[in-house]
């Protein structure tokens, strides 16, 4: 843990905090300028049966009669102190609503990611060592196949085969081990495709490097070559990709939860959007942003620890400036 790494980490964490705040503000503005007034649409809906007095109470409690900027400020300072406000629909704290469904989604998303990584590793290993005559080419086609099939289709196919045909899990009981397992598979397959694409390209690149030949010349085994030599340098760009798939995992979770009838963030979002429950929407979107930023922050922080060659920002020697002249191609050719 040297000084430049701590500087680097502090800088990255600062940037992450700014991104989270900006995303909160952005969501708030988008939600408030969205067409449709939640008060008219929801509270005054005769089916809900609120009296005019109750409506005024809710408006006052939520502070909806104040100017937007004041509301933003109030909401932002609440958010920073960890208070996500009250649901307009049920009047329960938003944090409680989220806490109820978050574990289920987290389980699904992390197991989906685990499935994706394992699948990508298996495909990656196969592309390096499976002989051509045993279908290496076919294996290399898997990622594009996985990418081109939407995950709800995969989910439905899995339910059909393993739920209905083989009876491995009861479709109704969404929380059983097998139901969760197949939901994770449905979620993980498209994600694995993105990871595998990058992993395969990097494995191919690393396998062509001299050091791979030299290491084999040292008489090491295939699996040692893969896990001890090729995997680590190939995994470095994959770290970035995995961080970027968090969005995919979150979005995919919502769809998969619907297909598998699971309660989770997905069902919460669905309910809040249809009822325009603004505090809940705001909180979920902000949480998604936080999750995304935190995971990418972790990736940034891990990267220099994995690759000893990474030069941290601030220590890179600036290249002499070159202009727009005819001889730029030669200028770049000169190593400095």
């Amino acid at each position: 843990m040297n000084r430049s790494y701590l500087d680097y980490a502090a800088k990255r964490i600062g940037q992450a905090v700014i991104v989270i705040l900006l995303s909160y503000v952005f969501t708030f503005i988008v939600v408030s300028v969205l067409p449709g007034d939640p008060i008219t649409n929801v509270l005054r809906d005769p089916q809900n049966g609120f009296s005019e007095q109750e409506i005024q109470q809710i408006i006052a409690a939520q502070g909806l009669d104040r100017p937007v900027l004041v509301q933003l400020w109030a909401s932002l300072s609440q958010f920073l102190s960890g208070d996500l406000g009250l649901s307009m629909r049920s009047n329960r704290p938003v944090s409680t609503l989220i806490a109820e469904v978050l574990p289920s989604t987290l389980v699904l998303a992390t197991s989906g990611l685990a499935v994706a990584i394992v699948l990508a590793l298996v495909i990656g290993y196969g592309t390096q060592f499976l002989p051509r005559r045993y279908g290496q080419g076919l294996l290399r086609g898997f990622p594009s196949l996985f990418l081109s099939v939407p995950n709800f289709v995969i989910g439905l196919v899995l339910i059909h085969i393993f739920g209905f045909q083989l009876g491995l899990f009861r479709v109704i009981n969404a929380d059983s081990f097998w139901a969760t397992f197949f939901a994770a598979v449905a979620l993980g397959i498209p994600v694995s495709a993105q990871i595998a694409e990058v992993l395969i390209a990097n494995l191919d690149h690393e396998a062509r490097q001299d050091y791979a030949a030299v290491a084999r010349g040292r008489g090491i085994s295939q699996s040692r070559l893969f896990f001890r030599h090729l995997l680590k340098p190939s995994a470095l760009p994959v770290v970035t990709v995995v961080a970027l798939t968090v969005g995919e995992l979150l979005g995919g979770s919502l769809i998969t939860e619907t297909v598998y009838g699971r309660t989770g963030i997905g069902s919460l979002v669905q309910r809040s959007v249809t009822t325009q429950d603004l505090p809940v929407i705001q909180a979920v979107v902000s949480l998604a942003a936080v999750a995304f930023v935190v995971v990418n922050l972790l990736a940034d922080l891990v990267y220099p620890l994995l690759d000893p060659r990474v030069k941290l920002i601030g220590t890179v020697k600036p290249r002499p400036a070159t202009g727009d002249d005819a001889f730029d191609d030669r200028v770049e050719g000169i190593p400095s």
Binding site: R132, D210, P308, R309, G333, I334
Partner: protein
């Protein structure tokens, strides 16, 4: 001479009679799909002896090395017989052969910078080699590794063990790799161009190390090289390859001093180290300009120029108060190892960097890196030919576009005039009009470098900076390019600033030389003075590192013979 021949011949014939060769390659052919890259190659290597495979790119020499190690890529098909200790390597299962790799057959690769996993510590990789010794104790294995590191001349084995590859220099890495290769005490060491990526003085030390280990540990050495001089200095037997077939094979002295095939003769004639005066007729008129007999002016004057960069907060003096001048129509060579300041000097000369102190004038105009207008003016006088023609030409452009581009940028002449100038420039470098529409991908390395030279010629400059213009090319192609450059100088009166680490080449074509070390010019003078009577030890070290071919090994044999006579007398 005759008695000496007998002395050197006898061990060969004796060992051949008594023991079968360690490595016997017989009728080896390797094909990638339908393309045959190695065709019916055969040779054998006795225990403890050395053999060099010599050839240019595409000769199949590296493919043969990979076949011996069974590291051929997917899709390559090898036929014939490679017998190691009497067992046919090609017929063995991968599982069985793996026990030989490393243990019995060691491998030293070409480019040490890429030959170790960049994200793992050297110690972890060394442990893999040490595991081949069947020593179960990890601490003992580490001791063995440190011992080997010391043996190959690494100063601080413990520090090397804990380092990552990017923290060591190329020479140190090559020592590490040689150490790892010899650590399990293999019977055969395959070295694929082990020094071509290294500085000259390091090259010699690494080759000395390989020779020493070969003798001390009684290892057979299969040396793959493009350099006839190195091969004949280091190997007992030579096999000359071209296009995958053996052109000539035999004892080094025979092949070297009396090559029978036309190709081997040409190869011999093209090696600069062996033919210092090959281009004398083209070069020598330049000396008259130098001593003022033709009354020519100074073309380039560099006076007390310094340049300091800051790297990681520390300041690094890349060039330190250097001065030299170049007479018009002559060639000035800057020689030195990497980090000596050669590249910075030419960047300053081209106005790409601004000197911190001192003054550079070309044809009386002062070069300043900060003023773009004057820089453009200077660039019409001063052009650069870059090292590697495989990367310096845009692959999507045609030859005509590439050569015409400078004219377009400087808006010189009408379209028809530009076209005529492009043809003239191409004719000057010996390229015909039929190549005008070709893309670089459809040209050979030599043709590409000619295009790069033609591109500099269209602006009719009077100075051309040549940054290692032949180092990416094969020797025979290199000889062509040198000839083109010298005839251009003779015909157009060009002044060259020639940057190279190849002193043999410098001797062939330069008139004056500056020897650079750590940013300073340690010695300068005419090429004959520097090469015949070097005053600085550094210059002497550089000159000593020029491989001298078989003469050196002859004297070694001679010494050994004398020693033997003394002892047994």
């Amino acid at each position: 001479m005759a008695s000496q021949d007998k002395l050197t011949q006898r061990p060969d014939t004796l060992s051949a009679l008594l023991t079968p060769p360690l490595l016997k390659v017989d009728g080896l052919s390797v094909a990638y799909g339908r393309r045959t890259v190695v065709d019916d190659v055969g040779f054998d290597l006795a225990r403890g002896r050395s053999l060099a495979l010599i050839g240019e790119s595409g000769s199949g020499k590296s493919t043969i090395a990979k076949a011996v190690l069974r590291l051929l890529p997917d899709g390559a098909h090898a036929d014939g017989r490679i017998a190691f200790n009497g067992q046919d390597i090609l017929k063995q299962s991968e599982r069985h052969f793996r026990t030989l790799r490393g243990r019995a057959i060691g491998f030293v690769p070409q480019d040490p910078a890429n030959a170790l996993n960049p994200v793992r510590a050297i110690g972890a990789q060394a442990q893999e080699a040490a595991a081949l010794t069947d020593e179960p104790n990890k601490a003992l294995r580490k001791a063995l590794i440190l011992d080997t590191f010391a043996e190959v001349g690494l100063d601080n084995p413990g520090r090397v063990y804990d380092s990552y590859p990017h923290q060591l220099s190329g020479g140190m890495l090559q020592r590490v790799l040689i150490g790892l290769a010899v650590l399990p005490r293999p019977a055969l060491l395959v070295a694929d161009e082990p020094t071509s990526a290294l500085d000259v003085t390091i090259q010699k030390r690494i080759l000395d190390l390989l020779s020493r280990l070969q003798h001390d540990l009684d290892i057979s050495l299969l040396l793959i090289t493009h350099d006839l001089a190195i091969a004949s200095e280091r190997a007992d037997k030579l096999v000359v390859l071209k296009d995958g077939t053996v052109q000539e094979a035999g004892r080094t002295q025979d092949v070297f001093s009396a090559p029978s095939s036309a190709y081997a003769r040409k190869l011999h004639a093209d090696v600069p180290a062996l033919n210092p005066d090959r281009y004398a007729a083209l070069r020598d008129p330049g000396f008259h300009r130098l001593d003022g007999r033709e009354g020519t002016a100074t073309k380039i004057a560099v006076e007390g120029v310094s340049k300091t960069f800051s790297v990681d907060g520390k300041s690094l003096t890349a060039v330190d108060r250097i001065s030299f001048s170049v007479a018009a129509g002559t060639t000035h060579a800057l020689v030195g190892e990497s980090g000596s300041g050669k590249t910075t000097t030419i960047r300053l000369l081209l106005g790409l960097d601004e000197p911190d102190a001192g003054r550079i004038t070309v044809s009386g105009e002062t070069i300043s890196g900060s003023d773009r207008g004057s820089q453009r003016a200077v660039w019409r006088h001063l052009q650069l030919v870059y090292q590697n023609p495989f990367t310096s030409l845009d692959p999507t452009w045609s030859v005509e576009q590439l050569v015409r581009e400078p004219l377009d940028r400087y808006r010189i002449g009408t379209v028809a005039e530009r076209r005529a100038q492009v043809r003239e420039a191409l004719a000057n470098v010996g390229l015909g009009d039929h190549l005008l529409q070709r893309k670089p991908g459809a040209l050979s390395g030599g043709q590409r470098q000619r295009v790069a030279i033609a591109r500099t010629l269209v602006l009719r400059p009077d100075v051309i900076v040549l940054d290692e213009p032949t180092s990416a090319l094969d020797v025979s192609v290199q000889a062509d390019i040198v000839e083109v450059l010298l005839s251009l100088q003779a015909n157009l009166g060009l002044t060259y600033v020639f940057v190279s680490h190849d002193l043999a080449l410098v001797r062939q074509l330069a008139h004056t030389v500056s020897v650079m070390r750590k940013g300073r010019i340690v010695e300068h003078g005419s090429v004959t003075d520097i090469f015949d009577t070097p005053r600085q030890p550094y210059t002497r070290a550089l000159l000593d590192s020029i491989p001298a071919g078989v003469h050196a090994s002859q004297t070694a044999t001679h010494k050994a013979a004398n020693l033997r006579q003394e002892i047994f007398a």
